[in-house]
């Protein structure tokens, strides 16, 4: 077993009283002094600061942006050639069976493409890109930390330190000179709130974090609340809600596949698993990811089997993420069910500790997104 890696903010987390846990090979804060519930609520009402430095930051450099984007389009079913400079898009690496290898953010930064990938997948992703992006240089950025500042106060707080960020729209990216070195900022995040992700030189990261935390509105937030925030926002966690066995159409992520990559589009297909994914885009998938609202207060957690009837029968699906939603003030889950059960309001039964409890299919997200479009 290899030693856990530490992010440039690990010492700061410990100073702030974080409870540290192993996550994707890193020692990460699961919660700070406030605790998961208050950290979650604080992010929705003011602003939360998250350390997401464990995620992979990758630069793909071809002869120019378009060359890198064209090469990358062979791995992701996303319109990258049509992505404007200074803009970012969500997407996923697919496999030959149409499953998802990882999900990621990709940005057009003028002369190159910048990607942010999941911590647990980053070594595989980088090897995958190096193996398939002919003529491109794939560089993992290891001398930068990544912070996320999320919540309705994020704009005001960051603008005071980095003038200009208030003018960004959701999914804009930009490079800003600052007292903390060159910052690579996107107006995005994974909580359903407005906010920013900030790539900062590793040796400036703690100073930037302390400057952000100095604002009354900002509290440090751990992985526990990050998980409940993204779940309420209906966002997928890789390895749980999506994986190599789920297709983008089953996962209800078809919105991320632009027309130009679909059947009849100018650059139709040309990515791993295209045959299955293009067919499902037209004909539908046999199962779907849905929101689930358990009745009562008992959370239905990952792995909970779902049944059509209160008694008897085999499971029709299962929960892939589930927790108590602090903002919803009720348990919320996501899971996969056959298409015929994937209709909002459908009554199902989740088996918790040997007892079937009623749960209804619900629309996602559980809380409305508050992005600055």
């Amino acid at each position: 077993m290899t030693a856990l890696r530490r992010t440039p903010l690990a010492d700061l987390h410990e100073d702030l009283g974080a409870r540290m846990v192993p996550f994707a090979g890193y020692e990460m804060p699961v919660q700070f002094a406030l605790g998961v519930m208050k950290e979650h609520l604080h992010t929705r009402t003011a602003a939360g600061l998250f350390d997401v430095s464990h995620m992979g930051q990758v630069i793909v450099r071809g002869d120019d942006y378009a060359a890198g984007a064209r090469a990358m389009e062979a791995l992701v079913p996303v319109n990258l050639e049509g992505l404007a400079e200074g803009r970012q898009r969500y997407g996923f690496f697919t496999n030959d069976a149409g499953g998802i290898r990882d999900d990621l953010m990709m940005a057009n930064r003028g002369d190159h493409l910048f990607a942010v990938v999941n911590a647990a997948c980053k070594a595989d992703d980088i090897a995958h890109m190096r193996a398939h992006l002919a003529g491109c240089d794939v560089e993992e950025i290891t001398d930068r930390a990544l912070l996320a500042l999320q919540g309705p106060e994020a704009e005001r707080v960051l603008e005071a330190l980095v003038p200009g960020v208030a003018a960004m729209r959701f999914m804009d990216v930009g490079v800003f000179a600052s007292d903390f070195g060159e910052l690579w900022i996107s107006r995005s995040g994974y909580t359903g709130e407005d906010g920013y992700e900030i790539s900062v030189p590793a040796d400036e990261a703690a100073a930037l974090a302390r400057a952000l935390l100095a604002a009354d509105a900002v509290e440090p937030v751990g992985l526990g609340a990050r998980d409940s925030l993204r779940l309420e926002a209906g966002l997928c966690l890789y390895g749980h809600d999506i994986d190599t066995e789920t297709t983008p159409v089953e996962a209800r992520l078809a919105w991320a596949i632009q027309k130009v990559r679909r059947r009849g589009g100018a650059r139709e297909g040309g990515f791993p698993g295209a045959e299955r994914i293009l067919a499902e885009l037209e004909g539908g998938a046999p199962r779907a990811r849905v929101g689930l609202r358990p009745e009562g207060r008992a959370p239905m957690r990952e792995g909970t089997p779902l049944f059509a009837a209160a008694e008897g029968g085999s499971p029709v699906g299962h929960v892939t993420s589930g927790a108590f939603g602090p903002s919803v003030e009720a348990p919320v889950s996501m899971g996969y069910v056959p298409a015929e059960h994937a209709v909002e309001g459908t009554l199902l039964h989740g088996e918790v500790r040997g007892k079937r409890r009623p749960v209804r299919v619900a629309s996602l997200p559980f809380v409305p997104a508050r992005f600055k479009r």
Binding site: Q31, G35, K38, G224, R297, A298, P299, A323, F324
Partner: protein, 120 residues
């Protein structure tokens, strides 16, 4: 007051019943409690039966019956307001009262000094 290695506290009452809750240490380790499922009053239980389910923001855990006996009363207020377990674990947030079959089972448990040493 007695304490178990499962981080429960047991407080004998004058009427011979024993009130059971979880310690401050346990409530801090659990994190924010969001769901509590209690047994029914009148249930006969054996020591180490799983009789209460607590779900926190992190995970589900059980509370074991610390003694053989009969559950005489449960704290229904926790079902509606599970956060009480974090706010006042040693007071308002007791879980159940039980009438022990063999009160001498209490002797196996730690006193406050021993428990303090146990949690370090």
């Amino acid at each position: 007051m007695k304490y178990t290695e499962e981080h429960e506290w047991l407080r004998p009452e004058d009427d011979g019943t024993v009130v059971v809750g979880i310690t401050q240490h346990a409530s801090e380790q659990l994190g924010d409690v969001v769901f509590v499922e209690l047994p029914e009053a009148g249930t006969n239980v054996a020591k180490d039966d799983e009789i209460v389910v607590i779900e926190s923001v992190k995970a589900a855990s059980d509370i074991l019956a610390p003694l053989d006996g009969e559950i005489t009363e449960v704290n229904e207020a926790l079902v509606d307001d599970p956060a009480k377990v974090n706010e006042d674990p040693l007071g308002d947030a007791w879980f159940f009262k039980m009438k022990p079959g063999d009160p001498s089972q209490m002797d196996d448990y730690m006193d406050e000094a021993a428990y303090k040493e146990f949690v370090g």
